[in-house]
Symmetry: C2
């Protein structure tokens, strides 16, 4: 062990076995149990990453890349010990190219840090998974979030990568250009690989112009299915929304309590439209007309402070569920279903949750058919864990039966491996083959996505 | 040989060794030399595809999938003989789901056939590579075309596939849902695999609502770089365009001649905007204001007949270049560069073409930084072929040096293998590994994208 640490110190500036730091990297805020690493390293350069890989190979120790630890399926927990590679010191924005609408960052740059730097150019990076995650982590999990309905997921934003492989080689899949048909989609393979195929050292991303003007509409309904039906009609009617989020009554209630708001406790849709003032006006007029046919309350906000307050409800949702249940850990289901199945899937989820008398909030990115059931459970209480799994199993089962997927945006991690096996029974051998091709010794994030022989 | 044909007749309804049919499948309209298959088969079902694969394996004969033969880099030419699988009889639209904005088709369905069937639902499929290609072929080459600037390429539209592998197994990568983070991007690997990894039997695609209203603007400039600079300013200014196409003066001249039009012979931009009448009005107003700062002529058309006439110029471009050079074959360069390098790249391309006294048209999807130099050459004239290669080499060289790609949308095929090796030197072993994993005997389209030992 000492030899491992000593050799790591020769290749990377900051190497830590401090108990607090190790513990911090042993867990997330979800229900997944903690597991300690052997050591945490804080590289600053690609050269250091190459050095870490060489040492890990020599000592046959796993490497687990770590952004800020906000992933939800234990992607960063070192269940086989090993070297946690914390990217927080690889946080340089290497090149902003406003003339190309692209930026190149180190993987430890966070979403908010990037957007802060882009502001002066009138540009922004749209993918927003809620947490102030790193771009490396977001690339690794193919993150999406509230803006995906308009802008797409990470896989559509990543133009090019630099990746350090298990062999120590550095590869550069992708291109700076807006599109390419040059060979197999190798870049796409790395986006969403959840740390299992290599260490990113640079990420080139697509950027967008900041929209001149935005407005938010809040619609409250009597029933949650009325809200999801309305969401469907909004999308089917061709309305151009930037965000369309659903929060159920229980989510609103805990947000109110947590954040001192007094939002009406009812199933709600939060809708953002953006563009020029005239474009936004056109979209809001369409929405008003549609809402006239529904039994709902409609509140519109164009003032930036009032808008911020409405979005606060959405942003605080995960936090409020945790706050309402001190000492417990969170579990989010993450199914995504075809649009027409959304109301049915949400109704079914609520029935299952009620059947087990579980306290749970339902919220989601309904523009993509993706929703979450958020539950707070005590990870040391076996009964609670069993109930939580029973609920999740049935919600996933329903989604898979209706053409959906077990994960719309959180990834497989450790928590959804058995669902992946079911959902992609026919392609699992391809995933395993790719893992073996790129990481034959199972060095990177073992036990994440796939169980393979190392 | 007879045994191969006899066994194929046992597994597939239509098997042809008719000389005319074989010859039709031996070539395309590009400069690539023809090569005869052993046999052409016309399957109707997935079961027949599985049967064909089994026979091909037994006789160690290549399988070459074929849509309508409009690919530009010899993807369908059977250079090692074997079995050409013509998908023209697998042309059923299996399920239109307007409620989910998706459709499932057999691979032989053409783009126009699909859009005809979708019209009654107010829906359409936006990817338009110009030719009335099959959806199977478009999926295989990751096609894009004029609408990509707004809607993206095939890789963003394909939700799910059914694929018959070399092993005879059928896999179903992807999901019906709008997004998924379930494991590695296997579906993305097959999109753009150019026939080298398997035979598609079903393709599920994303659909869009037909925009209510469209308008086309034609701008003519004195210099081609003025046109590409204007294109850049339009995009950088945040104008929302559906199409933005560049045609140089020579292209316009041959279109006029071929189609009896009298368009002004000058570098031109054709721009389409679409949406509600009000949205289109807003966009056109922005364009008018911008155009006031440029030295150009601006012509707007909202009338559908007048719009059709303007787009005719673009659509006829490839055809007109062929018609102007009877007996010759076509060659299209296909580089794509970062937006800010577009003007420079186009100027450089024109200089190279002029240096060799080649007759060539330049046209392209400038919204993505993708442009084509179209040349007509006699494939049997070695000097002409050498000049064409010299021109292409230098244009690709320039693109690669400036962060671009050797192919924006036509794919690698046989014609761009050496460029792929250069562009993706670091990831080529991954592409080869994937090919070996999925097609260890090099059964599918050998010699396309990669040269591997069979």
């Amino acid at each position: 062990m000492n030899l491992l640490i000593e050799e790591l110190k020769e290749v990377v500036g900051t190497v830590s076995t401090n108990e607090t730091i190790m513990e911090h990297h042993s867990k997330t805020f979800t229900y997944h149990k903690a597991s300690m690493p052997d050591v945490v390293v804080f590289p600053k350069t690609e050269q250091e990453l190459i050095g870490i890989v060489a040492v890990a190979k020599k000592y046959k120790k796993p490497i687990i890349p770590y952004g800020v630890g906000t992933s939800l399926e234990a992607q960063t927990i070192p269940y086989y010990g090993g070297i946690v590679v914390d990217f927080s010191e690889m946080n340089e924005i290497l090149a902003i190219r406003p003339e190309d609408f692209t930026v190149t960052v180190q993987p430890g740059v966070t979403r908010e840090q990037l957007n802060q730097a882009l502001k002066q150019y009138g540009l922004f990076f749209p993918v927003d998974p809620g947490a102030n995650a790193t771009l490396g982590g977001m690339t690794a999990t193919n993150a999406s979030g509230t803006n995906a309905v308009k802008y797409g997921t990470m896989r559509q934003q990543v133009r090019k990568l630099r990746v350090v492989l298990a062999s120590g080689e550095v590869i550069t899949p992708g291109a700076d250009a807006a599109k390419t048909s040059a060979g197999y989609a190798v870049k796409e393979l790395f986006v969403g690989s959840e740390g299992t195929l290599g260490l990113f050292s640079e990420i080139t991303l697509k950027l967008y112009g900041i929209e001149e003007y935005s407005a938010v509409a809040k619609l409250t309904f009597n029933e949650i299915t009325d809200a999801s039906d309305a969401a469907y009609q909004i999308l089917a009617g061709g309305m151009k929304v930037t965000k369309i989020e659903l929060l159920d009554a229980e989510t609103i209630a805990s947000v109110n309590k947590q954040s001192g708001l007094d939002l009406k406790v009812a199933p709600s849709l939060l809708i953002e439209v953006s563009g020029s003032k005239e474009e936004v006006g056109l979209q809001l007029a369409i929405l008003k007309e549609m809402a006239g046919d529904w039994t709902c309350d409609l509140q519109m906000e164009t003032d930036s402070l009032a808008r911020a307050k409405l979005w606060q409800a959405r942003h605080d949702a995960a936090l409020s569920i945790a706050a309402a249940n001190p000492g417990k850990q969170l579990m989010f289901t993450d199914v995504c279903v075809p649009l027409s199945k959304l109301s049915q899937a949400i109704l079914y989820a609520r029935q299952i949750v009620d059947k087990y008398n579980m306290h749970a909030s339902i919220l989601g990115h309904v523009g993509d058919g993706n929703f979450h059931v958020a539950m707070a459970i005590d990870q040391s209480n076996e009964d609670e864990v069993a109930v939580m799994h029973a609920i999740n199993d049935q919600i996933v089962e329903f989604a898979l039966k209706h053409g959906g997927t077990c994960t719309g945006e959180h990834g497989v991690g450790v928590g959804k491996k058995r669902f992946l096996q079911k959902e992609h029974e026919s392609t699992l051998f391809i995933m395993k083959g790719i893992k073996k091709l790129l990481d034959p010794e199972n060095l990177f994030s073992p036990g994440v996505i796939l169980d393979v022989e190392g």
